[in-house]
């Protein structure tokens, strides 16, 4: 069972917001004593997801939460946008698949960096990506 | 009625303590090697003080009430320390059980002419002391679990030493199964050490790894790739013949990785890369 201990909602519409968001995520990770390598994984995952949000949906909202499950604490990030949505999630989760001109590592790579990864998308309504990174995991 | 028990405990505090100490010291399983008598006495006194001074009428039998939390805290502190000091559960349990005996003894001496009352008061004391025993065991086990967790951490620390074999060459003997948690630690330690020592070659020796399956191989490849990204080379040595067989049978591609059969040949290769030469000096030459 995952308990949410704190919640912080951040609007991401401009490039400056991205820097602000990353700083907040880092602060949160430091607060729960996440190790440096896991911090880097979390921030890199955050960077990938926020770029997707900016590129395909002109921004959105990110919720930063401190979560706890048993002895372990972690950070949960929820990215939601009102963009066009992802037509084929299974394809988007494959290495090397991209509709844009990127390397196509964003989503599958992000999944490898975090402990929990969930993606929901509806055509024309938007996409919600939720990730959890545990402090020691 | 409970007023009396409460009062009684307060008045007879000294007697109970003496009796309890006597009980404890008489116990054959007393660990004089782990705890001195003075220490035991001060522990016992602390607990009785808390027990007596925190009792009030309404909550005498209600262990959930706030008044009990100092007692539980003290008791918890004592049993956690005991768990760490290496007391057995029985020895820790006896600490509380002998207190119960002491209290019941005093109660019996004081309430002489009313068997019904003696029984009901004894039951109350029993109930409380039993709850306290449960608390003791719970914290004792928690203390032991903490010890186990700390030891697990220590084992992972110990089992992944990074050795500086030469200026610029690190060696990392891996002993035991390489799972993903272990790989994380091995990789982090290795990369950190590379930065700190400025070493350009790292040797991962897997002589002590019992088996290499595709998952272990994947972990090894990951470590090698990360080392290369940092600008150092990573050699895998200590590959036993049966491991070479399984690797090929499983179809694992290690062709991008420098592999050597022994740590010695990995070291020789490293010397070559670093343009170093090891020479045998003539026996005639005086040192």
């Amino acid at each position: 069972m995952i308990l949410s201990l704190s919640k912080d909602t951040i609007q991401v519409l401009k490039e400056q917001d991205v820097v602000f968001l990353k700083n907040r995520v880092k602060e949160t990770a430091v607060k729960i004593k996440m190790g440096l390598v896991n911090q880097t994984r979390l921030l890199t995952a955050c960077s990938e997801l926020v770029r997707n949000m900016m590129r395909y949906a002109d921004g959105g909202v990110c919720i930063i939460e401190v979560v706890s499950s048993g002895r372990n604490n972690g950070v949960r990030l929820t990215f939601s946008d009102r963009g066009p949505g992802i037509p084929d999630i299974a394809a988007a989760m494959r290495d090397g698949f991209s509709t844009g001109k990127s390397l196509g590592l964003g989503l599958p790579g992000t999944k490898r960096l975090v402990n929990e990864f969930d993606i929901k998308s509806k055509m024309g309504e938007g996409t919600v990506v939720t990730i959890v990174k545990w402090a020691n995991g | 009625m409970s007023l009396k028990t409460h009062q009684l405990l307060k008045n007879k505090k000294k007697t109970i303590l003496e009796l309890w100490m006597k009980n404890q010291l008489a116990d054959e399983s007393l660990r004089e090697d782990l705890i001195s008598n003075d220490e035991l006495r001060s522990q016992s006194e602390e607990l009785i003080d808390a027990l007596v001074s925190n009792l009030s009428l309404e909550n005498f039998t209600n262990l959930e009430s706030d008044e009990w939390s100092p007692v539980i805290e003290i008791l918890g502190g004592i049993s956690i320390t005991r768990a760490r000091q290496g007391f057995s559960p029985r020895e820790t349990g006896n600490f509380v059980f002998s207190l119960k005996e002491a209290i019941l003894d005093v109660l019996q001496q004081e309430v002489t002419n009313d068997p019904a009352k003696l029984f009901s008061e004894s039951m109350k004391v029993n109930r409380i002391m039993d709850s306290l025993s449960v608390v003791t065991f719970e914290t004792f086990i928690k203390g032991r679990e903490e010890v186990i967790l700390r030891q697990t951490d220590e084992i992972t620390e110990i089992s992944t030493p990074v050795i500086r074999v030469w200026e610029g060459i690190l060696a990392l003997p891996i002993i035991g199964t390489l799972d993903s948690a272990r790989t994380q630690i091995v990789m982090e330690n290795l990369l950190q050490e590379i930065v700190e020592t400025g070493s350009s070659i790292a040797i991962l020796d897997i002589s002590g790894v019992p088996a290499v399956d595709s998952l272990v191989a994947q972990h090894l490849i990951k470590t090698v790739s990360a080392t290369r990204l940092m600008g150092a080379e990573c050699i895998i040595s200590g590959i036993r013949p049966e491991i070479a067989q399984t690797v090929v049978h499983l179809g694992i591609d290690l062709s991008n990785i420098i592999t050597k059969a022994t740590l010695a040949s990995a070291l020789a290769y490293s010397f070559k890369v670093m343009r170093l030469e090891v020479k045998k000096i003539s026996t005639l030459t005086k040192l």
């Binding site: 440096l36 994984r41 992000t110 | 940092m230 600008g231």
Partner: protein
């Protein structure tokens, strides 16, 4: 607009990235650096990322691009000082930065570039001799 300074040292260009790159800054760096390689006829590019705490797939791609573009302009690229956490993250992300040379620090990177250029020149000399022989 923010710019990352590019220093010229002999036949090499040095870039020290002191801030965490955001996308536009990285794109500017790519363009500036390729222009500089062309203008100065540099033989090597040294990029120090020891102060960079995050490299995601976009930055990884820019670094790869710089290396490939410089290669076409006959310059080798060496990335130096990558943090352990960054290296681990890049591997897990699936970006081993193939085709990019790496070194532990500036000094080692510089030596690497020098030896690469020396061997390249030796190759050219040999080619030259072969050609002369054939010509004769």
């Amino acid at each position: 607009m923010d710019k990352i300074p590019i220093l010229r040292m002999g036949a090499f260009l040095l870039v020290t990235i002191q801030v965490d790159l955001y996308d536009r800054l990285a794109l500017n760096l790519e363009a500036d650096l390729v222009k500089m390689v062309n203008k100065t006829n540099a033989k090597g590019v040294l990029i120090d990322i020891s102060a960079v705490s995050i490299v995601d797939s976009f930055m990884g791609r820019i670094i790869g691009n710089i290396a490939s573009m410089s290669k076409i302009l006959d310059a080798e690229t060496v990335v130096v000082g990558m943090q352990p956490a960054v290296a681990i993250t890049l591997i897990e992300l699936g970006l081993p930065l193939k085709g990019v040379h790496t070194a532990l620090d500036m000094e080692k990177g510089m030596n690497m570039l020098k030896s690469m250029i020396d061997s390249n020149e030796e190759d050219t000399d040999e080619d030259q001799t072969d050609y002369d022989l054939i010509a004769e």
